[in-house]
């Protein structure tokens, strides 16, 4: 009997999602134990935050990545970083996030503990509070592995000095990226395919609000920022072209891609430009401020490999064009979406 009980307690069961005593115990012992803070602890229907007058930014993302743990992070790192980054690239200082856990029956409590620990660590790193949450349980989707899905929403304060907008972009502006691209998506795909490399490929998942805050503090003319998640850098640049009605010319030699990532992309038949990142942003800056912004990125731990990889032009029709290593030119398309399922 004690052994059976032990084993029953070691994983998520349907009743953990029923809203009764078992849900309460799970939340207190597994979630609050690590995420405890003044906003979350009352476990009321919502968190109450003082808010001074000013613009608020509100965002949400769900995370459905498989596998849920991978080199360089896990779905918890991702769920906090992704939502923090959405606020950061809007020009906001993140304040609080919500945490919606959807657990599959059979998920091991040890695994849940590790994910919650990642959430706590990443939230601390980003300086945001997990202010409110919800836990549900669903049946597992496959025999192989019981996982979990996470939704985070976030609220932040818009910085009065942020003047971002795709309509501010003009010909001659520089297109910067804060480091090596494609590493999140390639790390996930390599794990799925069982590929191994001499230098391990790790997800770049990280909260970027410290970096963006440094950039705004510079007072440089930053016109646009976007984190290059699903759809990768190519997806962001396609959006820029579409909404600004301008072209972007990128230089393959300047695009920061690690040797391992390039190798992995070749083996997987993927273009690093279209692969998801979780700690990279594309930033469009007035040409005169490019060098200052780049230098500020270089001294930040998450900007060491930053580069100016392209320039905005008024060539018609609006297109993203890549100048290849050997001087050729090819058009970079917005990815269709089928390449990388459940990558974030």
């Amino acid at each position: 009997m004690p052994v059976m009980q032990e084993s029953a307690e070691a994983q998520i069961v349907a009743a953990h999602g029923g809203g009764g005593a078992l849900t309460q115990a799970l939340i207190r012992e597994r979630v609050l134990a690590r995420l405890s803070n003044a906003l979350l602890d009352p476990l009321t229907d919502g968190a109450v935050l003082p808010w001074s007058a000013g613009k608020l930014v509100f965002t949400t993302d769900s995370y459905v990545v498989t596998p849920i743990e991978f080199p360089g992070g896990d779905i918890g790192t991702l769920a906090v970083s992704g939502t923090v980054n959405d606020l950061a690239v809007m020009g906001a200082d993140p304040v609080a996030i919500s945490l919606g856990l959807i657990l599959e029956e059979g998920l091991s409590l040890d695994c849940l503990d590790r994910i919650i620990a990642s959430i706590a660590r990443t939230a601390r790193e980003a300086g945001v509070l997990v202010a409110t949450g919800d836990t549900k349980v669903i049946e597992r989707r496959s025999e192989a592995d019981a996982g979990l899905l996470i939704n985070t929403a976030g609220i932040g304060r818009l910085r009065p000095d942020a003047r971002l907008g795709v309509e501010r972009i003009g010909p001659g502006d520089c297109v910067l990226v804060n480091g090596r691209i494609g590493e999140h998506g390639l790390a996930i795909m390599s794990v799925r395919q069982g590929l191994e490399f001499d230098t391990p490929l790790r997800s770049d998942a990280a909260p970027l609000n410290g970096l963006t805050s440094d950039l705004f503090d510079l007072g440089a003319d930053i016109k646009f920022m976007r984190d290059a998640t699903r759809g990768g850098v190519a997806g962001v640049l396609a959006d820029v072209c579409e909404h600004a009605g301008l072209s972007v010319e990128i230089d393959e030699r300047q695009a920061p891609v690690s040797r391992t990532a390039r190798h992995a992309a070749e083996m997987l038949g993927l273009d690093p430009l279209t692969v998801a990142n979780e700690g990279k942003l594309v930033c469009v800056v007035a040409a005169g401020d490019c060098q200052r912004v780049l230098q500020r990125m270089w001294v930040h731990p998450l900007g060491r490999h930053a580069a100016c990889m392209g320039v905005v032009t008024d060539r018609r029709p609006p297109l993203v064009e890549l100048v290849t290593r050997v001087g050729g030119r090819r058009i970079v398309q917005r990815p269709h979406g089928a390449e990388l399922p459940r990558i974030c």
Copy 2:
């Protein structure tokens, strides 16, 4: 070929979640087409809202109900009502919600359209904007039915006149409910079990912020409110006892339960007190204000069957006790959680 294409387009495929062209088309044609508003339309990483100084309430809930469409509503009605209600019972006026859609491969686009229409209708009814969103695709969990999961987070402004807190509850306070209980959970369970009744049992899912706003406008001494979702009225009262250190005595004859719900509960072996509601709140009011609050509820469409079903006492130890129809007494326990999986 045209036929194959038609059939491929009629349901969700993995690539709808890839963040590329197909994701964009889905969001524009299926989601934005119905939810369009000034905050959501730019499709940026987040919505920017002006916010005057004052307290903000932030909440989240995920919805995993099966089946996703049921008598009286669907998962979309639920996802908007649930989050709006969490804000309302905190004493906040809901302002905006986020919408995280997690679609299963194989979900029919017709079904998705109906759910989005419900979301739009319920948001309009509640007077909240769907300000920001995210769409992901996961593999389907069973051959039988491809469904979807929804997370909504919400932000609202705390009303300066709301003075809610379990610590304000005292002996003699009245326990009110705004109508017939148990109907959401019983409607879902009846569908699952294939039970039919002469009078159809319908989910009570509805946004309660109009009702709560009317109650606050009264100026009555409302001490505590909570929507009675998972765990039902019994779960809310168990929380009151635990946190206030007081007892609650409820009168079975005063608890509003429809004949059909009572009949369904008997057939399903469930106690209506422990079954989830999605349009019912428990409200603790100073005895002197009970009648005023009740009368205000009665004139609201969502309060027609409101009742004072109990009273707070200082009996020790703190317990919820039910006085039965025949004058007996039984202790009402917090439900364990196993009774009703995936009910909301």
